[in-house]
């Protein structure tokens, strides 16, 4: 299970965001370069969903390209928490399971009958820190590949715009506290960007330019 919010920021303000995050998190950023492959099971390979019928299943394979030896992670994102309670909170709470895997995991899933649905390359940086919960903030450009698996030839999907994601692992027992921690942290970023549940786009915030200018002139010393 994880808690997630997303937002967008103009590339010209990313440096200011990094300064702000550095001050808030107290840790060094890590570079991010992840090849993400979304696989879907073939047409005859299904599972039954009550009241829906047979459906294909999806899984994501993440290849971390930042280090000399790429590492692979299998990720399954499940349904979001529903109900009146879920509607009232500004953070998405959803099922999520990850597993590290050996480098031939893509071959395994192809061998099992999964097909590549889409692939993208995330390039940017991430902060991992503890602030009421174990929080990860990633700031990245989303890039598409012009040729199959050609990560060296990727181009931005939305030039000039980068995606900001704030995620935190949670359990059914502690998700309320994690939601509160994430929401609280997001308030510090409000002058630069608005973070909301994935799928709910709010665009760039009008105060971003001024906030970024303040951060850049003061190197993060100014309290926004």
């Amino acid at each position: 299970m994880e808690c997630v919010v997303q937002g967008i920021i103009e590339t010209q303000h990313v440096e200011a965001l990094e300064i702000l995050l550095q001050g808030l998190c107290g840790v060094h950023r890590e570079r991010l370069r992840v090849h993400e492959l979304c696989l879907k099971s073939g047409p005859n390979l299904v599972h039954a969903v009550p009241f829906v019928g047979p459906v294909a299943s999806e899984v994501r394979l993440l290849c971390d390209l930042e280090h000399s030896e790429p590492t692979w992670t299998v990720k399954h994102i499940g349904g979001a928490m529903r109900g009146a309670g879920a509607d009232q909170i500004s953070v998405l709470v959803r099922s999520m399971i990850e597993s590290k895997a050996s480098k031939n995991v893509l071959r395994l899933f192809y061998g099992l009958g999964y097909k590549l649905e889409n692939e993208l390359l995330r390039v940017g940086f991430a902060f991992h820190f503890q602030r009421g919960a174990q929080i990860t903030v990633t700031v990245s450009s989303i890039n598409k590949m012009l040729k199959l698996h050609a990560t060296d030839e990727a181009v931005p999907v939305t030039p000039g715009i980068q995606l900001v994601e704030v995620t935190a692992p949670a359990t059914p027992e502690n998700y309320s506290e994690v939601v509160a921690a994430v929401s609280s942290f997001c308030e510090y970023l409000a002058p630069l960007l608005h973070l909301s549940k994935p799928g709910i786009s709010t665009g760039v915030v009008p105060t971003a330019a001024a906030a970024a200018a303040s951060l850049m002139s003061d190197g993060g010393g100014t309290t926004l």
């Binding site: 073939g42 299904v46 599972h47 299998v74 399954h76 895997a101 071959r107 061998g111 009958g113």
Partner: protein
Amino acid sequence: MPTKWVLHWHPNPGSTVNSQILNEVSQCAEAINGVKDGRWKATLTLLKPNLRDQSQPGEYPRELLGISLPEQPNKYYFILRGPRIVTEADSSIQVIMEKLQSYKSRIALYFEGYQYQLGDFQLRVGKVVSSHSENLRGIVLEVEYLPISSMEKASQVLGEFVDIWQEAVLKRSLPGSFMHNEPNLSEYGLAVQYAYVMAQLFASQSTQAVRN
């Protein structure tokens, strides 16, 4: 992954494996000064694709093997025998596969028993039972030479130990013998050896069924 040889009991034609043979084999380990050192268990799961149309298997594999080994409790191994793929993953991959529901467990084989220390060797004697029945399906033997982690270097020593073991078992005049495939030197060779044992067990039981 540790460097081990996995042997399986091959009954003589007309005979079957039974608990008395298992007892004799265990006594054999103690007779050559093996010191009982705890229990062990490995699990091999056979998964089948969840097909919308069973009459059209198409390009999907007939089965996927999943293996958990006692020396790697946080890991899980998948084997696709056709394309010879062995994948190591965190044990949480099992939860992911359950969520995907594209492949479902049909039967599990449990390899379990006692392990013995014999100087620089570790011996594991185990029965094989399935999730569908408590009947004994087979007997396995794991042999590990502890000082060396390289399978290539340990092969000769392991081979000599197995020769001694075979002689000890032969003296008990049991209706069968231990057999092993050429040890797999690949990175996940132990998982591959268990997959081979499973294949041999199912093959021998199919032969037995035909005879009956």
